[in-house]
């Protein structure tokens, strides 16, 4: 509870929670409330995007689809990618880092060289390469690719925590009581190493949303007609529709706002957990 009080003391952290809650609510409820189908093409409006009006508060896109409906359904897709890829990265990174830290010695050395190698790639280039070469754009695949290429930072964090934790008395006590190594790892080491992971998780959701947007811009992300903020931007930035400012503004501002929210939460958590004052 002391943690919660510390977190809530900062106004910026509250703003972060507010923004993210609002976006999550839109993602959950939006698709149930949408006034129009997000994928139904209107032949009457085909080819001439309509500016915002009472009937279409955020206008329509080049295929005559209602932008508000697409933005709300897109929120669900973008947040799903952001959260799910984060979970993949956290699970893989935590297990990997904890095993390396607990094993120590040559195993640790080898495992962390692999992390070094993966961190030497410009990750985004790698994500593009994997998506373009495999040519598979199902939501699950995109989540896996983003998650499996972004766990390395988490592995480093967890390994550092585990290295210091494994010398502590409570770990020796657990071992003396006859706990098997997997049990020590899962029940004693990992739960105590999670504080920095929670902060990293918050930043990761935002980073993943940006990665998906970048992929979609290159046509390698979530595929049409399913809307994601990324592929809505790709549509809007086609030279033919670029003068339709509302199509450029809506997904762009939603991404910026969401990222802002997650960063504020990450900062607030980092402050409340008493870790270093700046991650980036």
């Amino acid at each position: 509870m002391r943690f919660l009080r510390r977190y809530l003391r900062r106004p910026a952290s509250l703003v972060g929670v507010g923004i993210v809650l609002a976006i999550v609510l839109i993602a959950i409820l939006g698709p149930l409330l949408v006034p129009y189908s997000p994928i139904a093409i209107s032949h009457a409006l085909l080819g001439s995007p309509q500016p915002p009006s009472l009937a279409h508060p955020l206008g329509t896109d080049i295929l005559g689809r209602d932008e508000l409906s697409r933005a709300m359904v897109g929120a669900r897709i973008s947040l799903t990618v952001g959260f799910a890829a984060m979970v993949v990265a956290i699970v893989v990174g935590t297990l990997y880092g904890a095993i390396a830290g607990a094993a120590g010695g040559v195993v640790d050395g080898t495992m962390m060289r692999v992390v070094d190698a993966l961190l030497s790639f410009p990750t985004f280039f790698l994500v593009i390469a994997v998506e373009a070469l495999t040519n598979k754009f199902a939501l699950g695949i995109i989540i896996l690719v983003i998650g499996l290429l972004s766990w390395m930072g988490v592995a480093r964090l967890v390994r550092a925590e585990v290295l210091s934790l494994r010398e502590r008395d409570f770990v020796a006590a657990a071992q003396a009581l006859g706990a098997a190594p997997p049990r020590v790892l899962l029940r004693h080491l990992i739960p105590n190493a999670l504080a920095p992971v929670i902060v990293a998780a918050s930043f990761a959701v935002g980073d993943n949303i940006l990665t998906e947007a970048g992929l979609s811009f290159l046509g390698l992300g979530v595929q049409v007609p399913t809307p994601s903020w990324g592929n809505m931007l790709q549509d809007a930035l086609l030279p033919a529709v670029r003068s339709a400012w509302w199509l450029v503004a809506t997904p762009g501002l939603l991404i910026i706002l969401t990222l802002f929210g997650f960063t504020l939460i990450g900062d607030g958590l980092s402050y409340a957990l008493g870790s270093s004052s700046a991650r980036r």
Binding site: L119, A129, A213, L237, T263, S277
Partner: protein, 324 residues
């Protein structure tokens, strides 16, 4: 500083980079080997007349009928023995030559973006730390955070629309105006928008790091000593605190480099700048494996060398660091 231990340190680090580069090449090659389709799939889409027999002959000629680990072995042998990264599948020119002509422009873009980032982030970060929790601090931090979340391609295209299309102040793409191919000023004019785009999304990281570092230093006992002996605040801040607050920024260079390189590649693609990223992303789409491998390896090498440079620089400015 002793030069002997420094050289030994650099050599040790470079030797340590060799297994790392091997691992990177193995991972990349494996990823490409596992990809379905392969280069000839694209070829048969483009040329419908390509018979299965001709396609097979082509694959044999390129060694693509072998399993990926055999191909990897041949690739590695050529690299180690002859420094040869193979020939492009697209235009049959040596990959080394293709990359060599693109590398300078990428390095120029990266340098310009980094300079722009630093001249904004450092003074603002310092001032935000000194005026901690003031409106200046809050607003600059909030703006930096907003900048961090901007999709880079979105910002790039908005800046092109504003400065190139509407105001007609700067060129929209490419690196040269017609007839001014060797004019450095013209090059600079072409690089301002892409570099500024990259800088805007990078500023947040540097600004926040600089601010945190300055706040840490301002809490040090020697700063209190300087104040206690009656030095003017200006001297305390800029003579005593600033130098030590700048040190950790060198470490950040190493941490930020992969992201910066990746961002530069994306920017090149958006602004049609013929650098490594433009080459690389197009090579990915064309499944030009030798070129993709070359770019991947060179990118990793740039990141590794950047980290080494950061560590050496850190030692050069901080006498407490020793290399033995």
């Amino acid at each position: 500083m002793e030069i002997g231990p420094l050289i030994a340190y650099i050599v040790r680090r470079l030797l340590g980079a060799i297994p790392l580069l091997l691992l990177i090449s193995l991972i990349s090659y494996g990823l490409m080997g596992l990809a379905p389709g392969g280069p000839t799939a694209i070829l048969s889409q483009q040329a419908r007349s390509l018979t299965p027999a001709a396609r097979h002959a082509y694959e044999v000629a390129l060694g693509l009928d072998q399993p990926w680990y055999v191909q990897y072995f041949y690739w590695l042998k050529e690299v180690v023995l002859h420094g040869n990264l193979g020939n492009s599948f697209v235009d049959q020119r040596p990959v080394v030559a293709r990359i060599a002509e693109k590398l300078p422009i990428t390095v120029e873009l990266l340098t310009l973006a980094l300079v722009l980032t630093l001249i904004v982030a450092i003074p603002i970060g310092i001032r935000a730390a000194v005026k901690r929790d003031s409106w200046f601090d809050n607003i600059s931090t909030a703006l930096a955070l907003i900048g961090y979340g901007v999709p880079i391609f979105w910002l790039g295209i908005l800046l092109i629309d504003l400065f190139a299309m509407h105001l007609r102040l700067l060129p929209a793409s490419g690196i040269n105006s017609v007839g001014r191919e060797h004019d450095p000023l013209d090059l600079l004019r072409h690089l301002i928008l892409p570099a500024a785009t990259l800088a805007i999304v990078s500023i947040a990281g540097w600004l926040r790091y600089q601010r945190a570092s300055m706040i840490d230093v301002l809490g040090e006992p020697y700063v209190q000593t300087a104040r206690a002996k009656g030095l003017p605040e200006r001297v305390v801040l800029y003579r005593h605190a600033l130098r030590n607050a700048l040190l950790p920024m060198i470490t950040l260079l190493g941490l930020q480099l992969p992201g910066l390189v990746g961002g530069a590649y994306f920017i090149e693609y958006i602004f049609s700048i013929p650098g490594m990223g433009y080459l690389g992303i197009n090579a990915i789409f064309q499944r030009d494996y030798p070129t993709v491998m070359g770019i991947t390896m060179l990118s990793a090498l740039m990141v590794i060398l950047g980290n080494l440079l950061a560590d050496v620089l850190y030692g050069a400015v901080d006498p407490r660091i020793r290399y033995d």
